[in-house]
Symmetry: C2
Subunit: 293 residues, 2 copies
């Protein structure tokens, strides 16, 4: 077999909780080929990924966008390890070692899935050209990637935006679904929280259902916390739950009201937007990771 | 007059709401001489500062730690301007121009006062050696400087941590004192909020007064939001209000409880600490600004 990318093969991997995407492309985010398959046990998932990459050639660089918690600090001894997670079999698994063994000398850049998606949306997507961007995804859980001062934010480990504790909406006595914190943002506004609260999945609730005022309340307060700590110029909200008509606008209006004139960034319009790439933001961002230092 | 620092004179200025500090020293934070005077009208304040600097020589670099809101982004056309503020006479005043006119070619590094204090505490103070540090000050207002991944965080403008909206403590019906947001952190936990809530200034309330449980509640929730967004390895709390015995420990315990095992950084002990420098963190940090790029 003659490899198609004999000199520089740029590869990417998006390791999600339920599906994995591997791809070949360019560090500007251009996807050339991709392959999607279910995330199963770690060894099997990586065997599939490595076989696919190998069938294309030998990658010189791989960008990885991984679910968390994961040690993304390259200075840490356990760089690349999945940290304690309720997901069976994955705790302690190194997602960098199998790739380094298969492709000695390959340059790996590892990020959270949400940071990678944030990078794609901030460089070539719905917030292109801005240096302060937050990408929030709402699905089974809630997570956020943060680009601040042109850099992806990490801090101690990485942000866990879904677990921020926020003021309750007046009259809201829903207990919350988070097994750790009950009524954190994820516990109040994730897909499972919506379904449990209203007895119906979000996808079946019409845009004028009060569920979306509640949803916008918690999202807007989460964004208000971001404004106070790592102020974004624009917020991109993606993920299945976000696709109901009008949610972005409703959230933007409430954020502006909460800001009360105090945070100049919020006066930008549009401020809360849908992603440009959605399903492909993560894998595009993973490709782009190979181009940042 | 023979200038004492003929070749490289490192200067610093801490521009506070009520007092200004000017100093000469080293970019490692060493203070050699300092002079404190009341902040009055902008022109007068800067005349005093410039006269004092001139009496020492010609500064080659000046680090400025300024109250906000202030445009600290060197790429912005209005870099150095004080932005709309209730403080009379200061809105729109440039704090960099008078210094550049007095000392042509001087290299100015401008930061928020809290970011400068954070830098000093993170490099040579109570969080020395850590790359992810938050410095919170509680006095007339509440502000925070954030060092994340070894860099001072800005984002769109700069963090306004005091204005984060947090869950209310059970049974707490205090309206809050913030003219913009009522019950944001500053509105619930600043010096004036404590005095208005309990009818007594914080300095006169004993350490076992319930006021401090309330204070710790809001501080701990503010720190929980930081953990979810720009996770610190350690939090330094300074300012007049923080000086009551036991507040740091009480806050730390509550943060750990709120984290519920989810944020590994919080297991570090001590996690919430008093500053090493307190009154001098800002001016030391301003000196250190001359050493960062």
């Amino acid at each position: 077999m003659v490899p198609r990318y004999p000199l520089f093969m740029i590869a990417a991997m998006e390791l999600g909780g339920t599906k994995t995407v591997v791809a070949i492309g360019k560090s500007d985010g251009t996807l050339e080929e991709e392959y999607r398959f279910p995330t199963t046990r770690p060894e099997e998932t990586f065997r599939t990924a490595i076989e696919w990459f190998s069938s294309k050639g030998t990658p010189t660089a791989i960008g990885i966008a991984a679910f968390g918690p994961v040690q993304i600090n390259p200075k840490a001894a356990n760089w690349g390890d999945i940290l304690p997670t309720p997901k069976p079999h994955w705790t302690g698994f190194s997602i960098t070692k199998p790739l380094l063994e298969a492709f000695p000398g390959v340059e790996i850049t590892l990020e959270t899935d949400v940071n990678a998606a944030c990078l794609a949306e901030a460089r070539i997507g719905a917030a292109a050209g801005l240096e302060n961007v937050v990408y929030i995804t709402i699905g089974t859980g809630i997570g956020a990637g943060v680009l601040c001062d042109g850099r992806l934010l990490h801090g101690a480990l990485h942000p866990e935006f879904g677990h921020v504790l926020l003021p309750r909406k007046d009259g809201d006595d829903f207990k919350g679904t988070c097994p750790f914190h009950n009524d954190c943002l994820e516990g109040m506004a994730s897909g499972p929280a919506i379904e449990q609260r209203w007895g119906t999945p979000g996808g079946q609730l019409p845009p004028d259902h009060p569920a979306w005022d509640t949803e916008a309340w918690y999202l807007a307060h989460g964004i208000q916390a971001l404004l106070a700590i790592a102020p974004p110029e624009r917020v991109v909200i993606g993920g299945g739950v976000s696709q109901v008509e009008g949610l972005h606008k409703k959230t933007e209006e409430l954020v502006r009201k909460l800001a009360a004139g105090y945070f100049p960034a919020v006066e930008n319009s549009p401020y809360v937007v849908a992603p440009k790439f959605d399903q492909e933001a993560g894998i595009k961002g993973a490709l782009m990771l190979t181009g940042i230092t």
